[in-house]
Symmetry: C4
Subunit: 209 residues, 4 copies
């Protein structure tokens, strides 16, 4: 019966992955849905349309920041799930909570795109990222304490997963604090941190994962 | 040919699971889409934005109730599908009906978030949960009568699945009745019942599944 | 290399199934998104809300007709894909065309729900179903002519798949003609045909699949 | 541990495929969501409704062009993923960038449908296709340089994948230039190029893939 149980648990992880892929996919596609095409009544020529599209550039920048946020947490969650040998009911709920917070990101993104002049919008956005980090941190903690981690997970990786979340969240926190200088400074700093994760994961002290 | 048939039936269960994961993922992501960002014209400073966001808190509470509802029924359906050795046409239709009711939950949620002062909205929401319970109950019943349940399903689980639905629906019914006192009392009670399922499945008489 | 090719082709069928499940899932969830909650300004008491919800019943009926339509074609496509031993590029395109028509169903549904008094809306809806039938018919035809069908597919099933599409489309055509009497007569007839497929696939001459 | 690593990498490719299928599915379904049903207030009889629907035909044509675009790139990405033996972190990011650009296609499509009279809208649409081509080209390049391509990939295919992207992008570029004559000429030319890929992949110099 142990075998059966593992099989069931294994299927559970697969369906958790499938639900996650679905939610990340919908969230990523909805982000862009919030960028409206220009109002036809305002456009009287090519120059008007170009100007209107140029006015959307800040929204696109924030869109790309959110796509990268989703990408980072999609890869982060996937790395954890790939190193579990089985799941359990509680782990499912931890990840459903994670996915609920993922599905809020389009809201925070829209808020930030519409109210970029207000620190509050940036702080809400940062809080969204913070919650994602906290749940992923707790998820790995839980998996370790309840022997859900695969036996062949390298010890190095085992430690790196949580350390990496802590360092990243530290940098995001610093980025958030910058909003008291300027919201665009915050956005720029967070984007730089994210691009560092995307482009140069082998450089410096952030190279794990 | 028996082998072939089983393979086909097995694929059917997999695609049913895939369709379900897709619908749950879209439904969960659409829930939050109904929470609108504040109207820019009303916001003249940080204080206005904070006040406007605070005004969204009831909507977020109802959003979380619906996420938990979706999570509970996603896990409930998954538990059933994991313990089937094969599906058939009728079972597919039972689950398509289940998914149709799942896809109505964002409507009921929006209705409840907009008309929280009316019992009717809460009763519609409860009726949505009731239908989900009835179909899942019937689905297991059907699977048992038509020998679709895996042979290695523990007898205990076999009985627990339906008993658990009955108890939960009894509690939801009690929660619904509370709306004649106050709709918020109903919401609070239903949330408590749900959190009990999420957080403490090992305590008390609700510990099965 | 034959082995490799089959493996690749097999993966292609799996991804085609995954894309299909995704599109059916989104289409099914979007159907209900078009049913708007009542306007808050019009609702002054429980009676108003009940009346407003009752006014949505025709929309819900059409919603359920479309859910059943999607269910029938999802099962129909799945039956075909399950009996293929491999796919090819052309088959992929036939099914992408099929999925494009599936994604139009929420549009036709909305049109019918808003313009139920006009035959044109019903004819557009029927035309949508007709296109789905034509493509599925052609898809099986193509699979047979290019030796994509599994060798262990029972001869009976092989013939039944297309005959069943022809009979169903004949009935849908009859249902469409009824719109020249009354659109609601058409809707009622189509719903009856569909419920016959869902509930009583073992009765009468429609029992195959 | 090499075995384990491959298994993990393999799962990574599967989840990348699942995320891709989800995003393509949502994008394809959202395309049609932008085609609004006629305004009820304008429709006083069957003739009005038919005229209003006929007015939607250009939108439907552009919708089909975008469905074909999505189909071409879905098959193109799938061909690449099917011929990889494993993925890595960087490849994941290349494909997340690809998917971000895919999720922008509904925006470009809406823009083109609303502003078909402006070259700018067509150029934005073409730029979207160009970015998709560039990333897929780079993705295969990266896979080759980092030994991610399956050993049993025929040498011919290995070369054809990138040559095919270059030729297609050349034709799309020609189509874009036509917009300085007429935007509809561009749309017609691009549709013809696409239909050539869909219908006649065995004819002429475009027969690879």
């Amino acid at each position: 019966m142990a075998l059966t149980y593992n099989r069931i648990a294994g299927q559970g992880l697969e369906r958790l992955a499938a639900l996650s892929d679905g939610i990340f996919a919908v969230a990523m596609t909805l982000l862009i849905l919030d960028i409206k095409t220009p109002d036809h009544a305002d456009i009287h020529g090519e120059a008007d349309l170009i100007r209107a599209l140029r006015g959307l550039l800040p929204s696109f920048l924030i869109f790309f920041m959110s796509v990268i946020t989703l990408g980072i947490f999609w890869i982060g969650q996937q790395t954890q799930l790939n190193h579990l040998k089985r799941g359990d009911r509680n782990l499912s709920w931890v990840h459903i909570a994670f996915l609920a917070i993922v599905s809020i990101l389009p809201f925070s993104t829209r808020l930030l795109a519409e109210f970029t002049e207000f620190q509050t919008a940036l702080i809400v956005y940062w809080f969204n990222i913070l919650l994602l980090g906290i749940i992923l941190y707790f998820s790995w903690n839980y998996a370790q304490r309840h022997a859900l981690v695969s036996d062949d997970t390298p010890h190095e990786l085992n430690c790196a997963i949580q350390r990496r979340i802590l360092i990243a969240q530290g940098l995001y926190f610093a980025g958030m604090l910058l909003c008291f200088v300027s919201v665009w400074a915050s956005i720029g700093f967070i984007l730089l941190v994210q691009l560092n994760y995307v482009l140069a994961p082998r450089l410096g002290f952030l190279h794990k994962l």
